[in-house]
Assembly symmetry: C2
Homo-oligomer: 213 residues x 2
DNA sequence: AATATGATTATGTATAGACATATTCAGAAC
DNA sequence: GTTCTGAATATGTCTATACATAATCATATT
């Protein structure tokens, strides 16, 4: 037992082994500090980390208890297509299909390729009021996806995956029969001031979204 | 500027505003402590939190720099169907379709209902060597999904979503035409000793997976 | 009984000081 | 030039102490 990370591990062991049962109160920081032979601040650091991960619920004066439903969270990286493709050992490329402008909104369609085969079809809107620099960018050279991730830091957003079947447009560009099941990703990102961009991405048949728990 | 959380917010602001550009070195802890009029330990706590969230990369002696690609991670809760359904304001129910056993593996099919309408079709395998208690459970009463989340704490796992079309089996139970696009979730969970369970969940048409960034 | 008040308690956080550890850098030895 | 060695430095962490804050409990007041 050395650093707070070890204390965290030991506490997690007790939770997972049900030595500290779900919903139960655990000893207070002072008691654990004495048991583990360390300062209270060290125990505090360990328990705070566990609380942040959802294993513990802590309230002043009321003490610390094991979370009733240790809600585990799955995490996945926000997809940047180039990295996604290159991580598969394939060469990335993209083709800008068309760009248009409607008031303060920039609209564009883009096809992403992996080893020269269709990988995903992008349909994007960019709010030029929030990202004026986007008006000068040549999205045939750098993909909008990539440029925005690097140049438009955002605060929060939502991502939604759903299943749909390929229509005529998707079938043409993704080179698959109409009616093929596709994964559709819709993503909206916001800064403090308001919406930045929204994308609808139709992935080529067989695409899977994997995340780690 | 009071607690370490405020320092964290201020540092994040500087990162997002590119006052501290991607890849750049930021002032060291002692300097920031002086600038912010607090102790080094307080700065340390704030910067550690940002490093944990992927905004900063810290190395001893080399200092702290802004992450080149502030890899944002999307998070979602590991789905527990009852909670998922009840969060939508619907009543949850489930029907056990069949159970069988092949050696140390328990196999079962189950239909999950929301307001008495099909919500998801589950196809699960449980390794009885890891979770012997599962052999005694009546999964007609409590769903396997729910029982396992509560009784088989796991360390890690993978979740994969893909799109597929309904076959004869799914079409029958989910009450949709064959060929309807469906979201398919495959999840495998492991404890330290090995695999615990794997599930294939076919969601009813129209299901969307949403996550927050 | 209902309500207000104050004491108690567990966590939240800040501080100064100390030492540990990883890494870099400069200079010495070959 | 290359390799080794030790000094310098930024972060990592622990400690003891102190006070802040929120929630609870017991008591006193109405």
């Amino acid at each position: 037992m050395q650093g707070w990370q070890d204390l965290q591990a030991e506490a997690l062991r007790r939770i997972q082994s049900r030595e500290w049962p779900p919903g139960g109160l655990i000893p207070n920081e002072a008691a654990l500090a004495e048991e583990w032979g360390c300062a209270r601040a060290t125990v505090n650091r360990a328990l705070q980390a566990l609380a942040e991960d959802g294993w513990l619920e802590r309230r002043r004066r009321a003490g610390t208890r094991v979370a009733l439903s240790p809600q585990r969270r799955a995490q996945m990286a926000v997809p940047v297509l180039r990295q996604e493709v290159e991580a598969l050992g394939l060469t990335y490329d993209h083709r800008l299909l068309n760009v248009s402008r409607k008031g303060q909104t920039l609209l564009l369609h883009c096809l992403h390729l992996a080893d020269h085969r269709p990988y995903a079809l992008e349909d994007r809107e960019i709010d030029l009021a929030r990202v004026p620099a986007a008006a000068q960018v040549d999205f045939a050279t750098i993909s909008a996806n990539e440029w925005l991730v690097q140049n438009a830091p955002f605060d929060r957003g939502t991502m939604t995956y759903e299943a749909d079947v390929a229509g005529a447009f998707e079938a043409t560009y993704l080179r698959c029969p109409e009616g093929t099941p596709l994964m559709i990703l819709t993503r909206r990102t916001f800064s403090e001031e308001g919406p930045i961009t929204s994308v609808r991405m139709a992935y080529a048949p067989g695409h899977a979204v994997t995340m780690v728990i």
